[in-house]
């Protein structure tokens, strides 16, 4: 049985700094993997390696049976990997609706010549995209549809996060990478986020999710697969309870003295 995502012996060095040190893990279709670890442990670097922003110094990344190591980001996205960013990176001066339509970019088939000389074809395609985008916004838990003609930069924090997820879903990905989706959220918003992710999984049972999280309440909600990275090394992996009990993990988070206490 082949995994949807296979990260094999990936090492990423920036000069003398080892950001990722021989990381190996596999992921099945439809599963959720939570990645935890202290700040600067290399979690976001891992996302950047998977999405082709960085080419790893050593090792391979395989997605859906294809070697995607060092492939340009737009190619990786086209193959079905979508992501959100730690500090939400919306297209602030575009409307909420346009943000989602841009998210469908990989689904657009009309080329430059079609747009220039067969406007009816291009217009029909865009009209379909508008409909789909509106449907995605209606599906979202927040009041995004009602705000679809507002510039994305004027949304409230929680709605921005929702919009980023809706935009990522627009490309109909097989794997979605969420980089600290709960950052800057209060308790109620975090609960809503967990509900959002659960709903997402119910709606798209085939979709796999990798989640970088600091908030253990979110991780606890998806306890099947958790892995902890520290100083670029994978120090623990398994179910949440086991990872939490792991002395290395406690040491990484709390320091040696606390772990001994």
């Amino acid at each position: 049985m082949s995994a949807l995502l296979a990260v094999e012996n990936v090492t990423m060095r920036f000069g003398g700094l080892v950001a990722l040190d021989n990381i190996t893990f596999f992921m099945e279709k439809g599963s959720v993997l939570a990645v935890i670890g202290p700040n600067g442990a290399g979690k976001s670097t891992l996302f950047n390696v998977v999405t082709g922003v960085y080419r790893p110094t050593a090792g391979r990344v395989k997605f859906d049976g294809v070697d995607i190591t060092g492939m340009p980001t737009h190619e990786v996205v086209r193959r079905g990997v979508a992501r959100t960013f730690q500090s939400s990176r919306l297209f602030r001066d575009l409307s909420v609706l346009d943000n989602v339509i841009v998210g469908m970019h990989t689904r657009a088939s009309a080329g430059v010549l079609d747009v220039l000389f067969r406007p009816a074809v291009a217009r029909r395609e865009l009209a379909t995209a508008v409909e789909k985008a509106e449907a995605l916004l209606r599906e979202s838990s927040g009041p995004l549809y009602e705000q679809r003609y507002r510039p994305a930069g004027t949304l409230a924090q929680a709605d921005r996060r929702r919009l980023e997820i809706a935009r990522a879903l627009a490309s109909q990905p097989k794997l979605i990478l969420l980089d600290e989706p709960s950052a800057g959220m209060d308790d109620a918003e975090t609960d809503a986020l967990v509900a959002d992710i659960e709903r997402l999984r119910a709606q798209h049972p085939e979709l796999s999710v990798i989640l970088i999280e600091h908030d253990m309440r979110v991780v606890e909600a998806f306890p099947e697969h958790v892995m902890c990275i520290d100083y670029g090394r994978l120090i623990a992996g398994g179910r949440f309870e086991a990872v939490r009990a792991n002395p290395h993990v406690q040491e990484a988070y709390l320091g040696t003295a606390a772990a001994d206490a």
């Binding site: 960013f85 339509i101 970019h105 430059v112 291009a122 865009l126 009209a127």
Partner: protein, 391 residues
């Protein structure tokens, strides 16, 4: 409901009347400023214009209402515009100076629309539009002078040659961004000017002379037009030709803007990293912007060459690129109408303010800095796209 324009749903007849009235007053204003001779007339008209823009700034809903009105009766809008554009030379009569200004303004409008794909849609500061303009002019002129190729054939050939040039500068530019990208394009603009100046076969600093006037169905563009007993000076030929190219440029701009290509440009303008994460091939879209820019600029260049029948490297200096950039910034980034207004304003005003012609560059500099500080979005800011019935 979110769109302010949807508050105003005028009846079609009222909308049509207002639309016609608006466009006629716009044309009347352009005519008035073009034919103003006395200093005080120019100042008064400029005052009126300034007051208009002040009103727009204070009461932004005017803009929304006007856009809604024009979109309500598209056929009337287009028909009125067509009648105005076709009829303008009849109004001007034998005043060739006004016609000349209008031709130059229209060519600049094409150039500004070309640059708008880059500067406005994708925020690529390209200072080489003047060079593409020059390449278009030289390619077509060389073909016509040396090989007797017809104007109508040189037009696409020059456009393709310039597009190729667009790719050539576009590709190295992908390795740089922002200020450095601007520097690379400045270098290209200077290099092209120097090459035109130093090559033997481009005529060196003397340029190319004796570019033959185009002919269409046996009618030479050097001859006056005679219709229904009216005689229009020969410049009217080029006026209509330039108008046709403006229309082509506007249609191109609209189609691209209202497609996923325009959206992709806007996305990479807002956040390149996030654009990549949506599957946008950022490098390709940047190069595409260079190519489209060069294509349209070459159209303008070809018409210019055949219009003045004499070109020299000094017509295509770095300054031309700066002028085009000023037009886009003043008119409004990523707003087609705004860019055209910018081109007309900055072509006509310097002519009307001849007394200050020595300070032309200084004035342009002050205008750009002033706009970037006070109103960086230009006179007519870009508008959010609206789809379907909301429009």
């Amino acid at each position: 409901m979110n769109h302010p324009a949807s508050r105003v749903v005028p009846r079609a007849a009222a909308a049509a009347a207002t639309t016609i009235l608006l466009q006629i007053s716009g044309a009347a204003f352009v005519y008035a400023i073009l034919s103003a001779e006395e200093g005080w007339q120019v100042v008064a008209l400029l005052g009126l214009l300034g007051f208009g823009f002040y009103l727009l700034e204070r009461l932004p809903w005017i803009n929304d209402v006007v856009v809604a009105l024009l979109a309500r009766v598209p056929v009337v809008t287009t028909a009125t515009a067509a009648v105005i554009v076709l009829g303008f030379p009849f109004l001007v009569g034998s005043n060739t100076y006004i016609l000349h200004l209008l031709i130059v303004a229209q060519l600049y409008a094409v150039l500004a629309l070309a640059l708008n794909f880059q500067l406005g849609s994708a925020n690529i500061p390209n200072f080489a539009t003047g060079a593409s303009y020059g390449i278009g002019a030289y390619v077509s002129a060389l073909l016509a002078v040396n090989f007797n190729v017809s104007f109508w054939l040189t037009l696409p050939v020059a456009a393709l040659a310039a597009t190729l040039f667009g790719f050539v500068i576009g590709i190295p530019c992908m390795r740089t961004r922002d200020t450095y990208l601007a520097l690379v394009t400045i270098a290209f603009a200077v290099v092209v000017h120097q090459l035109l100046n130093n090559f033997e076969w481009t005529g060196g600093p003397n340029g190319l002379v004796g570019i033959p006037a185009p002919t269409l169905f046996g009618h030479s563009f050097a001859d006056p037009i005679e219709v229904f007993g009216w005689t229009l000076p020969s410049q009217a030929n080029f006026y209509y030709l330039a108008a046709a190219v403006v229309i082509i440029a506007v249609i191109t701009a609209r189609r691209l803007h209202e497609s996923h290509i325009g959206l992709a440009w806007n996305a990479l303008r807002a956040d390149e990293m996030a654009a990549k994460a949506q599957g946008i091939n950022v490098a390709w879209y940047k190069v595409l912007a260079f190519a489209v820019d060069a294509f349209l600029a070459a159209f303008a260049g070809t018409i210019y060459a055949f219009y003045v029948s004499y070109i020299s490297p000094d017509n295509f200096t770095f300054l031309v690129s700066v002028t085009i950039m000023t037009m886009v910034i003043v008119g409004g980034m990523d707003n087609i109408f705004g860019v055209i207004v910018g081109a007309f304003l900055l072509t006509i005003l310097p002519e009307k303010l001849r007394a200050f012609s020595d300070y032309r560059l200084l004035i342009f500099g002050v205008i750009v800095i002033g706009f970037l500080m006070i109103r960086p979005e230009g006179l007519f800011p870009q508008r959010l796209r609206h789809y379907g019935v909301e429009r």
